[in-house]
């Protein structure tokens, strides 16, 4: 069992949990993820390692409550334990001194972009970051992102905070401004990563995205996570999760993310029925 040692509510549906897992913390690197099972009968879900503390032996996860499993996870407090916790999985981000880089985080994707931006900064890059969310309530870690960025742009779709724009708007402006951006990282919903990639394509700036396909084992054993990159089938859990966004077959990824939509609705409805106090409530 893996004890939860701290919890923070970053936004109404965005929670942070710190898990005690010394061996994972010891090996974790930016870009990697873990697979967890919340309770015994639960499913295996992947979550990015948002931060880690090797000395304290902890791993930080940030998640958005979207369905049954993440809602259940959202009910957990310090002192509770996770049933399973496996990692670090996936390949780490290729951190180098590229010169100027652009880090873009959308929604809950701000969490996984943070350790990447920090590592890029430590490697000597000039880091420009853009973080965006649908609305002010969903934003978090502005300070932490500012701390590791030379410049930070904040956007909201509805203009409730920062610039009223999608992240692709400042992205395009920065690329047009003549900033010598050598590489872009973009993490967020598939649709956002798709458009960030489309925006950067004419500028021929390599754009790395972190794909969130459906997974089971996370070790290359099942093939649930397969995607097409550059016309070839790749397994996100072992060949990724980071890939060249200009090569990803986005429509396929998004279709495959929807495979269990009916079952997900059923599971959530059942969860809400069984646990009325969890419905839309904040902890």
């Amino acid at each position: 069992m893996y004890p939860i040692v701290a919890r923070q509510d970053l936004a109404p549906v965005t929670k942070l949990l710190v898990i005690e897992a010394p061996e994972v913390a010891c090996k974790a690197q930016p870009g990697q993820f873990v697979i967890i099972i919340v309770e015994e009968h639960g499913e295996r879900i992947p979550l990015t390692i948002a931060d880690y503390d090797r000395r304290a032996g902890t791993v930080t996860l940030i998640f958005q409550e979207v369905g049954k499993t993440t809602r259940l996870l959202g009910t957990k407090k310090p002192g509770d334990e996770l049933f399973a916790f496996t990692g670090p999985l996936g390949l780490p981000t290729e951190i180098e001194n590229y010169g100027t880089v652009l880090c873009i985080g959308g929604g809950v994707g701000i969490a996984p972009v943070f350790p990447i931006a920090r590592a890029l900064k430590e490697a000597g890059n000039r880091v420009i970051s853009i973080i965006g969310a649908r609305t002010k309530d969903l934003l978090f870690w502005e300070d932490r992102m500012r701390g590791v960025s030379d410049e930070l742009v904040v956007t909201t779709d509805d203009g409730s905070y920062g610039r009223k724009a999608l992240v692709t708007v400042p992205e395009k402006e920065i690329l047009e401004s003549g900033e010598p951006v050598k590489r872009i990282w973009a993490i967020g919903p598939a649709i956002m990563m798709k458009f960030v990639s489309l925006t950067s394509r004419p500028f021929e700036v390599k754009t790395i995205v972190s794909l969130n396909s459906i997974m089971v084992d996370g070790t290359g054993m099942c093939g649930a996570c397969r995607v097409e990159v550059g016309g070839k089938t790749r397994f996100v859990c072992v060949d990724g999760p980071e890939f060249d966004g200009h090569e990803v077959n986005w429509d396929l990824l998004m279709e495959r993310q929807r495979i269990y939509l009916d079952e997900e609705k059923r599971a959530l409805a059942r969860f809400e029925e069984m646990c009325p106090s969890c419905r839309g409530e904040q902890h």
């Binding site: 090996k27 295996r44 496996t86 999985l89 054993m221 099942c222 093939g223 995607v227 059923r266």
Partner: protein, 478 residues
């Protein structure tokens, strides 16, 4: 005095029309009376041929003799002497090509039902309390076993009995390997697997779950951190696909994913269990091995109206166990021989709507000695299906090899290891099971785990061959 001929006792089974819709075990096991009657059939040969056919040399006449005398406990102990997992082997061993194939009775009549008797004794023991066998005094040595499949569990159990400290590292959240995630409940109930794992644990073996070696630690690190030896038993879990168009459509599963969702994650109990699974109205399963049988029979049980097996060779080449192929046909699985998929067809939403196939004819024998299927030009036709399961075979997962320089592998991705000892090219690292042979059988994986445990024990005690690797003329199968 001529022995009275007793017919081989039939195994009671659930009727096909009933069992095709439930996940309960198909074969129900002998009654006490049947078991005693069947045990009578054994001639108690002085030089038992049957033992030669068993990869772990189970003391067959002895345990059957004890059973016949109703000394169940002694029968169980005799069985356990060579086989740590008898309740499993009794259920899934391909007996017809192993022990039973060599039984002297097989020349004139039906062989003794060794597997069924083994199952009976093991089940008796499970119901009447498992006894922990004596262990050698602690050796002070520590061994890391990677992978909790049959190879790893067997190796770990034996090493513990030899007195070594054993830690098993398993990537998944449950031990058992293919026994847990691959072979379905209706062939191998999971509580049987759990009981066998419990037995290994009771020997003092420590199990660390959720540890992916190659990610959280490398083999070299384990050796540096104080393990005196490492045994690799990580199996062959990497699924293969055909590389045909449409293979990534929604509704195309690898058999591994389909079976893992169902068996390990218990998707058939959704929403009691959280993991979902889809099942088509009409399902095509590509391949005809044990894995394809398990996938097709699982699809039926999940409610598919029609399940079609698509196989490019003919009936004579079917690689699945005979019993399981018959079971599948009895349950209503439709088999298409000499048929090979060339494309998965999709609808506008990215879901499977059909499988384009091509008919084959048998040509010259290929490397495997089986006649090679040759496509018949212009014979393409479309099967009306809405789900496709690829059961084409598996290869070793390369993850465990991360940062383990010195471990030599073949071009098939398997580890080069000495067949008799399990030694790899890397000192103090042994390997056995599917990771060495490619996808094989439970009992061969167990045999490899046993041989490696014996060699590890000898090596750690400074006995046996202390020269690590002698280039064998014939073993390094490539």
């Amino acid at each position: 005095m001529p022995k009275e001929r007793i017919p081989r006792q039939e195994m009671p089974r659930q009727a096909p029309e009933e069992r095709r819709r439930n996940f309960e075990e198909v074969a129900l096991g002998y009654t006490l009376e049947q078991a005693l009657t069947e045990a009578q059939r054994c001639l108690q040969c002085k030089k038992p041929q049957c033992v030669e056919g068993c990869p772990v040399q189970v003391r067959i006449p002895e345990f059957i003799g004890a059973l016949r005398d109703k000394e169940f406990r002694r029968a169980a102990d005799l069985l356990k002497d060579k086989n740590n997992l008898p309740a499993i082997c009794g259920r899934v061993c391909p007996q017809e090509t192993q022990c039973e194939a060599r039984c002297v009775l097989a020349r004139k009549e039906e062989p003794v039902a060794i597997g069924r008797l083994e199952r009976f004794v093991a089940d008796w023991e499970r119901q009447n309390g498992v006894r922990v066998p004596p262990k050698a005094p602690p050796s002070g040595k520590r061994v890391a076993v990677i992978g909790a499949g049959p190879a790893g569990l067997t190796c770990a159990g034996d090493l513990a009995r030899y007195g070594h400290g054993v830690t098993v590292f398993e990537a998944l959240h449950a031990p058992g390997g293919v026994l847990m995630y691959g072979i379905p409940e209706f062939r191998l109930p999971k509580d049987v697997v759990e009981a066998e794992v419990e037995y290994v644990r009771s020997l003092g073996v420590e199990l660390r779950l959720n540890w992916v070696i190659g990610k959280i630690k490398s083999v070299h690190e384990l050796l540096e951190e104080g393990f005196d030896a490492v045994f690799l038993g990580t199996g062959a879990g990497l699924p293969m696909f055909m590389g045909i168009p449409g293979e990534n459509l929604s509704g195309v599963y690898s058999a591994n994913e389909f079976l893992t969702r169902n068996n390990l994650m218990k998707a058939y109990l959704f929403p009691e269990y959280d993991t979902p699974i889809k099942v088509g109205r009409k399902v095509a399963v590509v391949g005809a091995g044990n894995v394809a049988m398990d996938a097709s029979r699982t699809a039926l049980r999940l409610g598919a109206e029609e399940v079609h097996i698509v196989y490019r060779r003919s009936r004579a080449e079917v690689p699945a166990r005979k019993e399981e192929f018959e079971n599948a046909e009895e349950e209503g699985v439709i088999v298409h021989f000499l048929t090979n998929p060339v494309e998965v067809l999709g609808n506008e939403k990215g879901w499977v709507r059909g499988l384009r196939c091509q008919r084959q004819e048998l040509g010259e024998p290929d490397a495997s000695g089986r006649r090679r299927p040759v496509p018949i030009p212009g014979s393409e036709f479309d099967m009306d299906v809405d789900m496709v399961i690829m059961a084409l075979g598996t290869r070793p997962n390369p993850m465990v090899f991360t940062q383990s320089a010195g471990l030599e592998r073949t071009r098939h991705g398997t580890v080069v290891a000495d067949e008799n000892t399990g030694r790899t090219k890397l000192e103090r690292v042994w390997a056995g099971g599917d990771i060495v042979t490619g996808a094989a059988t439970v009992i061969s994986a167990m045999g490899a785990g046993k041989r490696a445990a014996a060699d590890i024990d000898a090596y750690l005690r400074g006995e046996g061959n202390q020269v690590w690797w002698v280039e064998p003329a014939a073993t390094a199968a490539s």
